[in-house]
């Protein structure tokens, strides 16, 4: 029977990338000189899982590299090698290389063999240099197999000498803290269908023999006579004793493919004296990253197996276990407990985004249907009308609850984005010769997955800017009376239905004079124009605007500030700058919680209803004729708190016949987009409501000034205005 392993590739890559992220963050927290043992264990487990997975799937290059990495980590874990800065750098580079390799394999592209080989060489060199102490190796027994055995005694099988090499720490029999070689008893009871499913106990026993000295005892009690035997069923079972493996995991891995087709217990016959160490490692391994296809199930079963094993291990098991049956029975409750506790620990499942989007869509439709019903209910009269309305109110409440729950499913903590920054800050600081303390707060703040995906790049740019341009060199800082270490602070929090993400630093702040001089030299600002601080800072968002005296590889990469603002605007958010000369600068991004639903103000223009996102609205007002003036070539403007704002007549933009063309007979909604404010002329304000955004691009096509559409309670389609786009469209039409 052949199994198509490619179906598991996606999960493997996904898990490996996540595992590498956790490995990277653990590496960054690793103290040079005095590393935390548990952290090294975490890192080791990641390498081990990726090695196991890639070997299973035949990604030999990755498996080979991770093997070297694992060897080094094992040396560190056992205290034979120390964590130094160069070693820490090599480990971080290994994360990059592994990520690149996985990405290459995922995209069917060639692996950059040179960089892999270089780093692997560094790894092995580091191991060779540190590994002065010879490992305690037991003499490999001869490979000869004796034919004649005493009938009653268990059969001792000599391992293949070639398989046991010193380079494989997992395979080499080592010594425990007690000085004893670990001995494991495996009760392996295949189910009848094991053979038919392509598993061969012989192959597993060969693999076990490669781990250490194996002694097997076969149980033939269930073997029927030949005429009753089904040659594809397995009737045999075995008790196997293996001497050598330090951990239970490599032993269990051999039986991975037979999972579900056999009863398996692995018991340590000589538990180490140092209590807790082995057990905790085992349990953490179960809670750690799973390496093979089905993570959730495997995690659960691994935990169950661990629980089973530890249950058996803690019980004073007699050296000679004649019948494995009672052992299995004892282990059964432990298995249950193991499963239960695991569910409590990480009761999560992996769901595809498409499924959630589908659910979201259905909920959106329900919201519309509910709005229609509510509208209908208001008109109803009669004895049952009141009851109907109260039921509708209930429905509305439940709908809102449902909607919020579904939205929460899509929410992820912003730490997913933040987690990339410690590494980035470390590398940048090293390269620029600066000292940076990166503070991350509010990492648990949740926001929509789609928003999160799009906010990553702008944030990278802002953090990079802060480190490159904001924070000064240590000597400059000291001269200014500041601590040599500069602080870059990333903070996220919920602020009234929005997410506020702040990137601040205690650097030099934006240089107003330089920005202004640059803008003047480029003719963006007239020589005599006076600008407010806000307007000056706004200039940095103009395309191609940079005050950097020299372009470094740091500031030369990625997106510019104009793209940052465009990305933020596309998300329906806004960005503000605050700067304090000599004290630092602050970039504040405000984002909507989700892109699926927007709080909007519905406005009437003629017979049409439009939705203006509440986040864009500054205020609404009725105009007095005196407030309006006409500017040649720029249309009408209104005076608003000492400022003049262009008036956009929505009926002109959308070609609708308005109720009245006289400005004082309608209303003005002052709204802003792209940092510019305008007055939208509308007939009337209708009310505020949450609307479900339907993509116009998907269903119709892109229209400048419109970000999407929604279906109103009365079944009519209403367009949702996109202020930045609308302002662009209006200025173009006035210019024309």
């Amino acid at each position: 029977m052949t199994l198509d392993l490619t179906q598991f590739h996606g999960v493997f890559f996904e898990e490996s990338f996540e595992a590498l992220d956790s490995m990277e963050s653990a590496l960054l927290k690793l103290d040079v000189g005095a590393p935390d043992a548990e952290r090294i264990n975490t890192i080791f487990r990641v390498a081990h899982s990726i090695k196991g997975g890639s070997a299973t799937f035949g990604f030999t290059a990755i498996a080979s590299f991770t093997h070297s990495l694992e060897t080094m980590l094992d040396e560190m874990r056992s205290g034979r090698m120390h964590v130094t800065q160069p070693i820490s750098n090599i480990l971080l580079k290994s994360v990059d290389v592994m990520r690149a390799m996985l990405r290459a394999v995922q995209n069917n592209q060639p692996i950059d063999a040179q960089s892999v080989a270089d780093l692997q060489f560094d790894l092995e060199l580091a191991i060779a240099q540190k590994d002065a102490a010879p490992s305690a190796s037991t003499s490999a027994p001869a490979a000869a197999v004796a034919i004649a055995q005493p009938s009653a005694a268990p059969v001792a099988v000599a391992q293949h000498a070639a398989v046991s090499t010193a380079s494989s720490p997992a395979a080499a029999p080592g010594l425990t803290t007690t000085g004893e070689v670990p001995r494991w008893e495996i009760s392996f009871k295949p189910h009848q269908e094991l053979l038919a499913r392509g598993n061969d106990p012989l192959r597993m026993l060969r693999e076990l023999a490669a781990l250490g000295k194996v002694t097997t005892r076969a149980m033939l009690d269930s073997l029927p006579s030949l005429d009753e035997l089904d040659s594809r069923s397995c009737y045999l079972s075995w008790t196997i004793e293996v001497e050598g493996p330090q951990d239970e995991q490599p032993v269990r891995e051999i039986f991975d493919w037979a999972e579900g087709d056999c009863d398996l217990t692995v018991t340590r016959l000589n538990p180490p004296v140092a209590t807790g160490v082995e057990t905790s490692t085992g349990l953490e391994a179960a809670a750690g990253v799973a390496h093979a296809p089905n993570a959730a199930t495997e995690l659960a079963s691994a935990a169950a197996q661990e629980a089973t094993a530890s249950a058996s291990a803690t019980a004073p098991s007699a050296a000679a276990t004649p019948a494995a049956q009672p052992a299995v029975k004892e282990a059964a409750p432990a298995k249950q407990e193991g499963l239960g506790s695991n569910v409590g620990d990480s009761g999560s499942i992996r769901v595809s985004v498409e499924k959630i989007d589908e659910l979201m869509n259905t909920v959106g439709e329900l919201v519309i249907t509910q709005a229609m019903l509510s509208q209908l209910g208001q008109k109803l009269e009669g004895p049952d009308a009141e009851q109907f309305r109260s039921s509708l109110a209930n429905l509305e409440r439940n709908m809102r609850g449902l909607q919020e729950s579904v939205m929460r499913v899509r929410m992820l903590p912003i730490s997913f984005v933040f987690s990339r920054f410690p590494r980035m800050a470390r590398d940048l600081a090293q390269r620029l010769g600066k000292q940076i303390d990166l503070k991350l707060t509010g990492q648990e703040t949740e926001l929509d997955k789609t928003v999160m995906e799009k906010i990553g790049d702008p944030l990278v740019h802002l953090v990079r800017n802060s480190i490159d341009h904001g924070v000064e060199m240590p000597d400059v800082r000291v001269a200014k009376g500041k601590p040599a270490v500069g602080t870059v602070h990333l903070d996220a929090c919920h602020r009234g239905g929005n997410i506020a993400v702040e990137v601040s630093d205690d650097g030099a702040g934006l240089d107003k004079e330089r920005i202004l001089a640059k803008a003047r030299s480029r003719g963006l600002v007239g020589p005599n124009d006076t600008l407010t601080d806000e307007q000056v800072y706004d200039l940095v968002f103009l395309p191609g605007f940079s005050t950097a005296e020299k372009t470094t590889d740091v500031s030369g990469r990625g997106v510019g500030m104009d793209v940052v603002r465009r990305n933020v605007n596309e998300l329906g958010g806004k960005i503000e700058i605050k700067s304090f000369p000599g004290k630092g600068s602050k970039f504040l991004i405000t984002l909507p919680l989700t892109l699926a639903i927007v709080d909007g103000q519905s406005v009437a223009v003629g017979g049409e209803t439009y939705i203006v996102p509440l986040v864009s609205i500054v205020e609404s007002m009725q105009l007095k004729p005196t407030q309006v003036s006409r500017v040649a070539g720029r249309g009408e403007v209104l005076s608003f708190r000492g400022d003049y704002l262009p008036i956009i007549r929505l009926h002109e933009i959308f070609g609708v016949e308005p109720r009245s063309r006289a400005l004082h007979e309608g209303l003005i909604v002052v709204a802003e987009g792209d940092g510019r404010r305008v007055g939208l002329f509308v007939d009337d304000l209708l009310g505020q409501q949450q609307v479900v955004i339907k993509s116009l691009e998907t269903n119709y096509g892109r229209i400048e000034g419109v970000s999407g559409a929604t279906i109103l309670g009365d079944g009519c389609v209403s367009l949702i205005l996109d202020l930045p786009g609308l302002i662009r469209a209006a200025s173009m039409s006035y210019a024309a």
Binding site: Q149, V157, P201, L202, L220, L223, P224, L226, D227
Partner: protein
């Protein structure tokens, strides 16, 4: 499970068979194929079923075997054990290393009769 017949007490069948040339058709050794795998196990079982009650010495020629798996070894073990239970002789011819290694790993040398000359089986490499 079928009740097995009690082992015969006749001592003359318990001797080690001589490697004399076969005189009758049934004296021919059972030749194992090069690949003794799960796919060929049903065929092996059918072949062995015909010889399980053979009163004479049954010889199994394993010299061609290059690969053997648990399913085939299990059939062979059942055959050898059934014959042993009936007190019937079994002789192994040309046992290759791969077979001994597999039988040892699975702890089936006794069941196959590799290691128990006294029980009426014999092995000749």
């Amino acid at each position: 499970m079928k009740q097995r017949k009690p082992a015969r007490k006749t001592g003359n069948t318990r001797r080690i068979a001589k490697a004399s040339a076969p005189k009758r058709k049934s004296d021919r050794p059972v030749a194992l194929p090069a690949e003794c795998v799960i796919a060929s196990a049903p065929g092996l079982r059918t072949t062995l079923l015909k010889r399980v009650g053979d009163a004479g010495n049954v010889r199994i020629d394993a010299s061609a075997v290059q690969r053997i798996d648990t399913a085939s070894l299990q059939v062979l073990a059942a055959f050898a054990r059934d014959r042993r239970a009936d007190g019937l002789p079994l002789e192994w011819l040309g046992v290759p290393d791969c077979l001994t290694e597999a039988a040892t790993l699975l702890d089936l040398t006794t069941a196959l009769g590799f290691a128990n000359p006294g029980s009426g089986s014999s092995v000749r490499a």
